[in-house]
């Protein structure tokens, strides 16, 4: 079960809220302060991409963010419900009809993969999920 689950309507103005919530939960989970900027950026990119996919596909459903504190890591899942949204895994599939928002989504994925070591992008018929995780200091005994 996620530590915090966030659903927000697919509008650009809510992406900042998702970033702030994710960073706050990550900090509590023990993610290193120096890495919080990366968490903020990566979750923002994933949410911006999901919002773009929902808007361009006319999906009237919220974007889902799951923030989970695990034993030695903190994980984030950002799920969209854009039908069969072809993620970066199949770039050729969208090369022909790619518009600006698609390009921005791909740039977002490029930033995420440059930032996060542990990242996985899956795409299904009913939407895509970006999973990311960061190590936490929770295993360290506090003085």
């Amino acid at each position: 079960m996620p530590t915090v689950e966030l659903l927000f309507s697919a509008q650009p103005e809510h992406v900042r809220t998702a970033r702030l919530v994710a960073a706050a939960v990550a900090r509590r989970a023990g993610v290193d302060e120096a890495v919080l900027d990366e968490v903020r950026l990566a979750v923002g990119e994933a949410c911006s991409r999901a919002v773009g996919l929902h808007l361009s596909n006319g999906v009237d459903r919220p974007v889902r963010v799951l923030l989970t504190e695990e034993e030695k890591k903190f994980s984030i899942e950002v799920g969209d419900e854009a039908p069969g949204s072809p993620a970066g895994s199949v770039p050729s599939a969208r090369a022909s009809g790619a518009d600006d928002s698609d390009d921005e989504g791909e740039m977002g994925l490029a930033v995420i993969s440059g930032l996060v070591d542990d990242v996985e992008v899956t795409v299904g018929e009913h939407g895509g999920i970006i999973r990311m995780s960061w190590p936490t200091a929770s295993a360290v005994v506090l003085p």
Partner: protein, 113 residues
């Protein structure tokens, strides 16, 4: 925090001072500002990013779009940035090779190549 924008002219350059967060919500405002400047004939831009707290790929896209526009008029778009967390985004996307990045507005205004 929202995005703040102000412009001023220094010699033949137009300095755009940006503050706050550039993301999927606020980036269109920056895009409008850059488009307006180019439409008004300002082709040599210096974007001062020292007051920027957050920048994502949408913001990068807007800057690249701005560069494309000024280049169409043989202009230039220079950035001023000393913040490691912002510079990192330019590095991982390879955009440090695309944008001249300066440490001060004075340096950017004086630069010619």
């Amino acid at each position: 925090m929202d995005l703040s924008l102000s412009t001023r002219t220094v010699g033949d350059r137009t300095v755009v001072e940006v503050g706050g967060e550039i993301d999927v919500y606020t980036a269109p405002k920056l895009r409008e500002q850059l488009v307006e400047l180019v439409n008004d004939g300002s082709y040599h831009l210096v974007v001062d990013m020292e007051g920027v707290d957050f920048l994502d790929s949408t913001g990068l896209g807007v800057l690249v779009g701005g560069l494309k526009r000024v280049r169409a008029h043989e202009g230039s778009l220079r950035l001023v940035c000393n913040q490691e967390r912002i510079l990192k985004i330019f590095r991982i996307t390879g955009l440090t090779k695309v944008f001249p990045i300066h440490t001060s507005v004075d340096e950017a205004v004086a630069a010619n190549d």
